[in-house]
Symmetry: C2
Subunit: 351 residues, 2 copies
């Protein structure tokens, strides 16, 4: 079943059928209705590859992410929200995993694979890994959208996340609860997004007049395993930490896990704050206080940026910047610092 078959059944030319399918406005509505009926009765759907070949557009957008394994649902959420935006607008989505490595070869390959499929636009959401390929990036008139980084050139949009607001709320929250010695667990600082988060934290600490202690900033993987290891190391050397902020929720979950395993309690002995607000954050024990970086908003912003660019006739000179806010969500993993707290035998202070 192809367009010729439809044309002959409806007794019109293939060009007319094509025009009807593509909603070209000059076709007679009566004729259009008749042909549409034929199309529907035949259960015909145009071959997307033929359309892509002939028109040069695939109605598909690419999405490059780091990876979704290892139990960190942030990227997962992002993908599904992005897919929803795409399909709502009649677009397909092609995901490519650049894999959790800093091998810029792999990311470049990922981008190449996506482009080979002739997608109309690409969102690059690897949260910092893309920095490595910015120089070798040839902007071939394909609309692109980056997060945090990205050159100010035509056809490239940029989502700039305001880490500061949410992190400031978190630090102020902890300080208001009496915490003074606050550790910060970061993932690999090669990732620009994690540098920005750490910098925001340090800035807030000094803003509030607390002493900044570099021994309290621990670099590990930004994963559950990493959070666990970081806490294990921290508790060995720094006995008087009463609160821990983490660069993402996965690390926070690992942190809680290790804190409990070390015989301490959250939040009675140590308060924990995450970052991202993944759905799981509501279901940890205890539910996690965290800084929300809305995955839904991020996906929507990115897709709409691409769509806007696709629909623009003339590209905008320096690209477009879209701001995205972050916000503290208070749950139960943070509490007033306990007075007579002592580490190796957290004295129970009743319910």
């Amino acid at each position: 079943m192809n367009i010729r078959e439809i044309a002959s059944r409806a007794k019109v030319s293939v060009a007319t059928v094509s025009r009807i399918i593509n909603r070209v406005p000059t076709v007679d509505p009566v004729l259009s209705k008749r042909v549409r009926r034929v199309i529907h009765e035949a259960g015909y759907h145009p071959n997307p590859h033929a359309r892509a070949l002939a028109s040069g557009r695939t109605r598909t957008v690419g999405l490059i992410v780091s990876e979704i394994r290892g139990g960190n649902p942030f990227v997962t959420e992002l993908i599904q929200h992005f897919e929803e935006c795409a399909s709502r607008n009649g677009y397909g989505m092609l995901v490519s995993f650049a894999t959790q490595s800093f091998d810029s070869q792999r990311i470049a390959e990922s981008l190449r694979r996506v482009r080979e499929h002739r997608v109309d636009a690409v969102a690059i959401m690897t949260f910092g890994m893309e920095e490595l390929l910015l120089d070798r990036l040839e902007v071939k008139n394909t609309p692109l959208v980056f997060v945090d980084v990205g050159p100010a050139v035509p056809r490239v949009s940029n989502i700039s996340i305001d880490y500061m607001t949410g992190i400031r709320q978190a630090v102020q929250h902890l300080v208001a609860l009496g915490h003074r010695k606050i550790a910060y667990l970061t993932g690999e600082l090669r990732l620009s997004t994690l540098r920005e988060r750490r910098n925001a934290f340090v800035k807030c600490i000094t803003e509030l007049g607390l002493r900044q202690d570099s021994k309290l900033i621990i670099e590990e993987e930004h994963s559950m395993q990493g959070g666990k290891r970081a806490i294990a190391g921290l508790l060995r050397t720094e006995k008087r930490v009463s609160a821990v902020m983490c660069c993402n929720d996965a690390a926070a979950i690992g942190a809680i896990h290790q804190i409990v395993e070390s015989g301490l309690r959250v939040p009675e002995d140590i308060s924990v704050v995450g970052f991202d607000d993944i759905p799981l954050a509501q279901f940890t024990t205890p539910p996690l206080t965290t800084v929300r970086l809305s995955q839904e908003e991020l996906a929507r912003l990115a897709f709409n940026a691409l769509l806007a660019d696709l629909e623009r006739k003339k590209p905008i000179e320096n690209g477009v910047r879209y701001p995205l806010q972050t916000q503290l969500i208070i749950r139960n993993s943070t509490a007033l610092v306990s007075r007579g707290r002592s580490h190796r035998n957290g004295m129970r202070n009743g319910a």
Copy 2:
């Protein structure tokens, strides 16, 4: 840059270039090497849509899953493992989310969308939702693979999961720890996979001579929220339950959460067993004892089934069945039943 350009640069015909790209064995190796160099130097990659159009094969396999949102990483893991298998074999992957609804319309639409893209084969891993579309399934010579269900017809493979083995190990484990009153949290029993898990549980209970009490089987959503709600209801009516088995890890996490919120402890007051063994299961508090259904093996089995079928010249009459085992993984969410246990004020019985 297209195949004609390469042909003229290499001073051969386009047919020869095409043969070289597709590794047709009859071309002269010396010539091939020369042309390959030209291809490489030009940075040429064939247009996949043109190839698909001309050859009828897309080198892409479809994957239909329920959905990946809501924080259940099982499907997420599946997708990434599947993608790995595909790309290792030079295939692309097209994911379609049938969305968490029993609207068979949506699943059929999902399958249609995937087929419209002319994928070479499709894996349907919605864990029971696909039952609803089996009747309206036209097997158009596209290889398909199902999990648990699926007709025994040519070009359709089937992965049949042995739920019994793992669940029997789990029940025996609990009974050995002294548990007698074991609740079972199931998701919606419309899903065949969940019916099979429940049936296996009931069979094990009677096998071991325990009294089977239908009040102890609670049907809710198979999600963290569902697990939480199920436990809330259970603790209101059944005070003497000492262990809970869940139809998946997500529900188990929700269950633990509610148990703790109700002032009880896991595993001291109530033991909890999950199902799936998602990566997160190692990082709950406490780490979850669970029945492993290897996502990696499942993905590999499914992809290889499709690949085998694609490479077969003559289809096998009744399709092929591939077995997949399950296995108990013991962690810390299960423990000896406590003697003087009483619900509303779990008396601490020391470490």
